[in-house]
Amino acid sequence: MASLARRNLFHDKVRFAVTLTGIVFSVVLTSIQLGLFIGFTTATSNIIDNSRADLWVTSKELTHIENGLPFSERKLYQVLATPGVESAQKQIIQFGSWKRSNGAVESITLVGFNLDGVMGGPWNIISGSIQNLKTADAIIIDELYRDKLGVTHLGQTVEIGGYRARVVGFTRNIRTFTTAPPVFSSFKNAQNYGGLREDQTVYILVKARAGVDIKELKKELISRLRDVDVYTTAEFSRKQKFYWMFGTGAGFTVLIAALLGFLVGVVVVAQTLYAATVDHIREYGTLKAMGASNGYLYRVIIKQATISGLIGYAVGMAISLIPIYISQRGTTAIILPWQMGFGLLVLTLLMCIGASLVSINKVTQIDPAMVFKG
């Protein structure tokens, strides 16, 4: 038999269109905002997550990675002397200033690393190589920021912190959360660009020996080193994400927008489902008089909500995929993993079923005797 829920739902096409619009709006807004949140979160800790280091030695009370204070490189030797350490290397990550050929100045995130090490360098290199960075003024930037930095070709020379720099390679999709694009160079170059003394570093990246407990090694390093903090890569990544997402309020803004999208969906679906229920109230009363249990009526309403949710989700996700796809070519990526997509489906269905509770309450109160009233 044709489903009563389906027929009731599709019977009034205008109302169904309004319901769908509400759900689609909700799905698009929620998915884009959540995707932005994940995109931003990923971008904040990109460099940490791809460092291949096990532990990070940082200046004391660091709030975020771009804000590290320099300390003496002598600590590197203390780290190397610690049992369980496979290798360690100096690293610079800090804001710098990039002067475009037209004189405009842009902020950048300087990333200076040991070219002979295995940690802290660029990834996804699509042009040039790390070996190209061995020349005195060489840098690698991400192609996403070519326009922003005014780079038109490989070999172009620019100015960083008053020093000459030459673009020798490009990476792909290495984004930063801030407006400061990442610029990779040798540690030595970065010292110059960042104005550090020769005996200073900003971070020490540590690789543990195979089989060594990272947390035990962290404790050991803390006991040996003074005036610095030690984090596992996962801890440091979380700290960085938390600072930018919640410390600055940026994440709250995005999440609140997602929540608003969700709430708008709930309200629209609840309102339209309720209006549909009221329109069909006599039919529900007839069903009750005929002997339908409340459970049967609930199923009809929940089925309507579920069908609306499924169609709204499908349309909403199809629309969302367009900006998600386009964003992959931009500096702000919207990332929506399939798990999140599935979670959003569950959320959409819960939203629709939750919204149907108002209607369920209405049919629960129907007096079947109403069918005898004219």
Partner: protein
């Protein structure tokens, strides 16, 4: 004949704040299988309230209601729908068909309520729609049916699941004379050929000729209960309309 419905010492009081209205006042009534009982009376006399109580839709304030020999007054709100589903079919003045379902699907829905499979529902509904003479209207939506056709679909729906009792509230009120006659014949046959107890609430004098018993209600009480002369004359077949009319007039 078996007693399908039995109400004893029935009262119903509607309370609204401090005001109370006695809608049914000590009514005793038995309706047998195979019998058409007509409840008549002026508006507000309590006939629809009595029908609602007999249909297990409304609870009496006091008294006993037995449906197919089962006392139902003490049943819970969860048990009463099952009694309606198992024993009672309803026919309403305004038809109360589902506008988004076709004629056949309206009948299928009633079978679906009983948990009958979709395939079997379709088969049974086809038979019922044929039975009410609407074979070619199975896939037609109610909006495209005449009043008489709608009421016949409603009767087919009421018959879904083979109930023991049919309760009809003003089934001819919204119909022209020809359709009204057709519907009444059908209800009459459901009692006389189908062995069902049929209770009809009506103001319509056209329904008188089909009643085996007429119960006049006023102010919540049974004022008069009588067997019309037509019924006494009837010998298993319907009399000609002219004869009936003469009898009524006479």
């Amino acid at each position: 004949m078996q007693t399908a419905i039995s109400v004893q010492n029935l009262t119903k009081i509607y309370s609204s704040g401090e005001a109370a209205v006695l809608a049914i006042d000590g009514v005793n009534l038995n309706v047998n299988s195979g019998e058409v009982v007509l409840l008549m009376g002026p508006s507000g006399s309590g006939k629809t309230t009595l029908l609602s109580i007999m249909g297990c839709i409304l609870r009496p304030t006091s008294g006993s209601v037995r449906i197919c020999n089962r006392e139902v007054t003490g049943l819970s709100e969860k048990e009463l729908p099952k009694v309606r589903l198992d024993h009672i079919g309803f026919v309403f003045q305004a038809f109360n068909l589902f506008p988004t379902l076709t004629a056949g699907e309206n009948v299928e829905l009633a079978l679906d309520l009983k948990g009958i499979s979709s395939k079997e529902s379709r088969r049974l509904a086809t038979g019922l729609i044929e039975q009410v003479g609407l074979k070619d209207k199975y896939n037609v939506f109610p909006s495209n049916l005449s009043g008489g056709q709608k009421q016949r679909v409603a009767i087919a729906r009421a018959l879904a699941g083979n109930p023991d009792i049919i309760l009809a509230d003003e089934p001819t009120a919204a119909l022209d004379s020809h359709s009204g006659l057709s519907v009444m014949k059908m209800l009459h046959n459901l009692a006389h050929k189908g062995g069902r107890a049929v209770v009809i609430v009506s103001h319509d004098n056209r329904t008188l000729e089909f009643a085996d018993r007429i119960v006049n209600i006023e102010d919540g009480k049974i004022l008069k209960e009588h067997i019309p002369s037509i019924a006494r004359m009837r010998k298993g077949t319907l009399p000609k309309r002219t004869e009936i009319a003469n009898t009524i007039v006479g």
